[in-house]
């Protein structure tokens, strides 16, 4: 047993880059700023793209992303009780903040169906390839929905419209909109599962 005495105590390395999203989030829950920075490096760009798509204003989009990440910082402990991937939890917060802002600012979401701007200012070719791949994957899945389902998801998710606003805008009964959202999102879930979209960093 004397061998134990010489067990070199490997200083636990803080190789945040190799940790899972969930592990980082549990570090954030213990107020680890480096872990928050690492999560931002993974999801900041996706978060900003989403907020920009919804808000169409760089300053507001930055506000939404900032509030969402501070929400991650303050509430990471609550994540432990949620049955979700860390990426889902974070992007849900970002979406929520952006939608809250778009409703508060009453920004007229005239043409939410327009495509997102082309990715610009690539950091690295690898990042770009991976994000571009995920983006194509989602767009491919969306294109397999019926036009009505796709419209409901895009106006709802990217446009920030409520189901009642959608019904009014499309001149359809609320029940029809609910059904399109449900069948559309369920189908999208299956398509993304099949395609193996990993809601994480490259």
């Amino acid at each position: 047993m004397t061998a134990l005495v010489t067990v070199p105590p490997p200083p636990a390395s803080r190789d945040l880059a190799r940790m899972s999203d969930e592990a980082l989030l549990s570090l954030v829950a213990s107020s680890d700023e480096d872990a928050l920075a690492a999560l931002y490096d993974r999801f900041g760009r996706i978060a900003y793209g989403l907020a920009l798509r919804i808000l169409r204003d760089p300053a507001l989009a930055q506000d939404a992303v900032q509030e969402a990440f501070l929400g991650v910082w303050r509430n990471a402990d609550r994540f432990l009780a949620e049955r979700a991937k860390a990426s889902t939890w974070i992007l849900t917060l970002v979406h929520r903040r952006a939608v809250d802002l778009v409703r508060r600012e009453d920004i007229r979401r005239g043409e939410p169906l327009e495509r997102a701007p082309e990715p610009a200012d690539p950091r690295t070719a690898e990042d770009e390839a991976s994000l571009g791949f995920q983006r194509r994957l989602v767009q491919e899945a969306l294109s397999q929905l019926s036009p009505e389902q796709r419209e409901a998801l895009e106006l709802g998710y990217y446009g920030g419209l409520t189901q009642s606003e959608l019904a009014e805008r499309l001149g359809q009964p609320l029940g029809t909109i609910k059904s399109r959202m449900f069948t559309g999102l369920s189908r999208l879930r299956d398509l993304l599962d099949e395609a193996g979209l990993e809601g994480s960093y490259p």
């Binding site: 849900t92 929520r96 983006r135 709802g156 609910k178 559309g184």
Partner: protein, 220 residues
Amino acid sequence: MASEPHDLVAAYAMDALDADEEREFERHLASCERCREELASLREAAAGLAYGAVGPTPPPELKQRILAEAKAERPNVIPFPQRRRWTAPIAAAAALAAAFALGVGVWATAHPKSSDPLAAVLAKPGAKVVALGGKGTMAWAPDGSAALALTVPRAPEGKTYEAWVIRNGKAAPAGLFSSSAVFRIDRPVPRGAVVGVTLERAGGVNAPTSAPFLATEAVS
């Protein structure tokens, strides 16, 4: 509202309900396991849509602003006497781990027939020592076995410490203790998992009610 509350799950997952509908659905959600499960998978699909909106990189100042603001805020963790930041200097953690290894070694030598949990794990191939937030140490082996040694104040009246094996956002209960202790974790700790400790009501709970105040790195 005449319709079934279940009908709202997709719109809820997409933040497409108004405030009243949202409250109504959340009341329903509290009592409907089926909707909670449906919501979890639909939320994941909705979050997938975020990847369809990838655009330009955000300005670098945004990250700096977020980190500065986070730093300025008081950390949202459970109050704990003599709590040390778990990012305490690695040197201190290493020293503590060494002390434990030494202590265990000496103790195990003095009690050769004993079955010290830490020593048992450390005897396995590839075993290593992982710091536990400056308050203790974990012995972990690649076969998933693990043991904890902690130095903590006695838990307050009516409370207990509870250990958790946390993986993929799910925390599984891994033992109760009320003061400094050395014990074997009675469930496997797979590669990539984190072991954390929370303070819970006496008797323990099935899911942590707060962030761990102590946590290891993800083991690998």
